[in-house]
């Protein structure tokens, strides 16, 4: 949502990857007096995408931001979207519940992602992140999901395994803390306390 004093925009850029993309975007935003307060970027199959949020002076419109960023790229080089940030749409997370990690392994299959995401959506499970790893033994899909508290995790795991079996794939759904415990160095006690304190769990 745009405030009277400082409009805030969500900015997205899609472009074939090269050196200096973030510089070109952030310099345009900064020169307009923008204050970047959120950013996430990734590269998939050679294509770079970034999403960021930034606040500007009252006089700066979405079109102005769009034009400024576009000027830093060649003709037809980048797809840019700038929309007002609507705080009402993001006041509450889509789902309240603990964060789990989904892993699916097996051979590549064209329908697998559609099948899995439909399964999760049908149960009100929100996907926060998803990535795929291709290795010599096949493909591994990894997703970070929020499971509504009302769901029975045991039942979900059983149904998930049954879903994947006909596709020749295996999968599991595990609370994120098992991955944090085995990969981070912070105290486990803090991990447990954090889990008890955060709204999402």
């Amino acid at each position: 949502m745009t405030t009277k004093q400082r409009p805030r925009y969500v900015i997205s850029v899609l472009i074939a990857d090269r050196v200096g993309i973030l510089r070109d975007i952030t310099s345009a935003v900064t020169e307009l007096g923008g204050d970047i307060d959120g950013i996430s970027q990734t590269v998939v199959a050679g294509y770079f995408t970034v999403i960021l949020t930034a606040s500007f002076k009252a006089s700066v419109s979405a079109q102005t931001v769009h034009t400024a960023i576009l000027q830093n790229f060649g003709e037809n080089e980048a797809s840019i979207v700038v929309v007002p940030y609507d705080a009402r749409r993001t006041e509450r997370p889509p789902v309240l519940g603990p964060r789990y990690i989904v892993t699916v392994t097996g051979r590549r299959h064209p329908r697998v992602l559609k099948t899995i995401t439909a399964f999760l959506a049908d149960r009100g499970i929100n996907i926060e992140d998803w990535y795929v790893h291709f290795g010599p033994a096949g493909m591994t899909q990894i997703g970070e999901i929020i499971i509504p508290r009302v769901l029975d995790v045991q039942q979900l795991q059983d149904e998930f395994r049954q879903l994947l079996q006909p596709l020749g794939m295996t999968g599991c759904v595990q609370h994120e803390n098992i991955f944090r415990a085995t990969n981070e160095v912070g105290a486990i006690r803090a991990l447990i306390e954090e889990q008890g304190n955060v709204q999402n769990d």
């Binding site: 599991c172 595990q174 098992i178 085995t182 486990i188 991990l191």
Partner: protein, 457 residues
């Protein structure tokens, strides 16, 4: 956001390398259950165990589901039962053991430890009763496990207690003759017994421990073996210190998994969390063997010169990784070498490359001692006492825990195969190279004084 390699490493440990939480063990103080008569005491013990542990299995199963990691065994460990046996008879000891057995069954755990006596300096009447009741207790209960601590570095070795326990082992074997002396698999003789060990058969709630506590034992020899194999595949000429480093990193991950499970179980139960004990405890399954780790390091024949050094490397690296992972490390923490429970060790004993004497040398640097070793049925009490004294001497002199869990199989001769089934595994009866000659020394009895802790060359 997790890195792909982080997720895949954890998944691989759980799914391919058999990482599990071997035991979640709830310690319960039963000293306050003493009543005027044993019937009332037994009822009080049952009530207290039920009150404290009735949700243990359910909560462990919930947490196992949540994290996708098996919790193989849920167990109980009570304060030394000998405290409740002062002024009691052997019949009353059996009644107490049966109450423990029944209570364990009712809350759904497979073993309960704490039928224990701490006798390194002397034996009270209650402790004498406990030890003398073991043949009947271990033959007429299913879940009760017993331990006797006969030595400490501060007290030395109580040889009279060793002799009593050795005679008792012979009697336990005879009392469980139908099961190849299996009762002895539920009896451990310790030097420097740890108060917070979650692993059976030696678990008990020792002095200084809370009223009720969760201790966790994690295993994972398969994880360590695969880590070494991956290292060697990437760097075939790597040195032993590089292997130690790899084991240390792996132990770190495994230990933290155990602490996560333990702390969450304790929190859900509303009791204290005690320790996580990373002990590489094998199962008879291929790929879940401590012996295979030594082979992966390059000791192709278990028992060959170098085997003891390999045990020392592994035990030390596991302890270092665990100590960095958690400030709540305790119990035994290291590498076990239980022969029948480890197919590679059992095979080496069967083939004669790994002798009783070599195993004893290995126990000087492993985390426990002579464990799950089958002996000829005609092994006499004096020889058993000598074995226990040798092992206790290693523990006392080196200021470490050592233990003996040996099974003289009634009627069996060296080389004969015995199968206990399940996690207890199978193996062949080991040969004692010098089965006589200890009696005169052992039967002098008395006490071997505590060692000097200076002039340490």
């Amino acid at each position: 956001m997790f890195r792909t390699t982080e997720v895949l490493t954890t998944i691989r440990m759980l799914q391919e390398e058999h990482l599990d939480v071997r035991a979640v063990t709830m310690g319960i103080n039963i000293n306050d259950c003493a009543q005027r008569d044993m019937a009332a005491t037994a009822r009080a013990v049952s009530s207290k165990i039920s009150l404290k542990a009735r949700n243990l299995v359910r909560i462990c199963d919930d947490i196992s589901t949540k994290y996708g990691i098996p919790i193989v065994n849920k167990r109980l460990a009570v304060s030394p039962a000998s405290f409740l046996l002062e002024g009691r008879s052997k019949e009353e000891a059996l009644r107490l053991a049966q109450a423990l057995d029944q209570a364990a069954r009712e809350v759904g755990v497979n073993l309960i430890g704490g039928f224990t006596a701490i006798v390194q300096k002397g034996i009270t009447p209650g402790e004498q009763v406990l030890i003398e009741s073991l043949p009947v207790v271990l033959s007429r209960t299913q879940r009760v496990c017993a331990a006797v601590n006969v030595a400490t570095t501060k007290a030395g070795i109580n040889v009279d207690a060793v002799r009593l326990v050795a005679r008792t082992i012979v009697q336990v074997a005879a009392a469980t003759k139908k099961n190849n002396g299996f009762g002895c698999a539920k009896l451990v003789v310790f030097a420097n017994i740890p108060e917070d060990n979650p692993f059976m058969a030696g678990a008990f709630l020792g002095p200084g421990e809370p009223e009720c506590v969760i201790n966790v034992g994690v295993s994972g020899p398969g994880v360590v073996k695969r880590a070494i194999e991956r290292l060697l595949a990437a760097r075939p000429d790597c040195t032993l210190d590089e292997i130690a480093e790899e084991v240390k990193h792996t132990a770190f991950r495994v230990t933290r998994t155990g602490e996560l499970i333990g702390r969450e179980v304790a929190k859900r139960l509303g009791v204290a969390f005690g320790v996580v004990d990373l002990s590489l405890a094998p199962t008879p399954r291929v790929g879940d063997s401590v012996g295979e780790i030594y082979q992966a390091m390059g000791v192709r024949v278990l028992g060959a010169p170098g085997t003891t050094a390999a045990v020392a490397l592994l035990n030390d690296a596991v302890k270092k990784g665990g100590a960095f992972a958690s400030s709540s490390v305790g119990g035994l923490s290291g590498a076990f070498i239980p022969v029948t429970e480890d197919h590679a060790l059992a095979k080496a004993v069967a083939e004669g490359t790994l002798s009783l004497e070599k195993l004893e040398a290995m126990t000087a640097v492993c985390s426990v001692g002579l464990d799950m070793i089958l002996l000829p049925g005609n092994t006499n009490a004096a020889t058993l006492a000598g074995i226990i004294m040798d092992e206790a001497a290693l523990g006392v002199a080196n200021n470490k825990t050592t233990a003996v869990r040996i099974i003289p199989v009634p009627g069996a001769k060296p080389g004969q195969r015995v199968d206990f089934g399940g996690l207890f595994g199978s193996g062949v009866v080991a040969r004692i190279n010098c089965p006589t000659g200890a009696a005169e020394f052992v039967n002098r009895g008395g006490h071997i004084p505590a060692p000097l802790r200076s002039l340490t060359n």
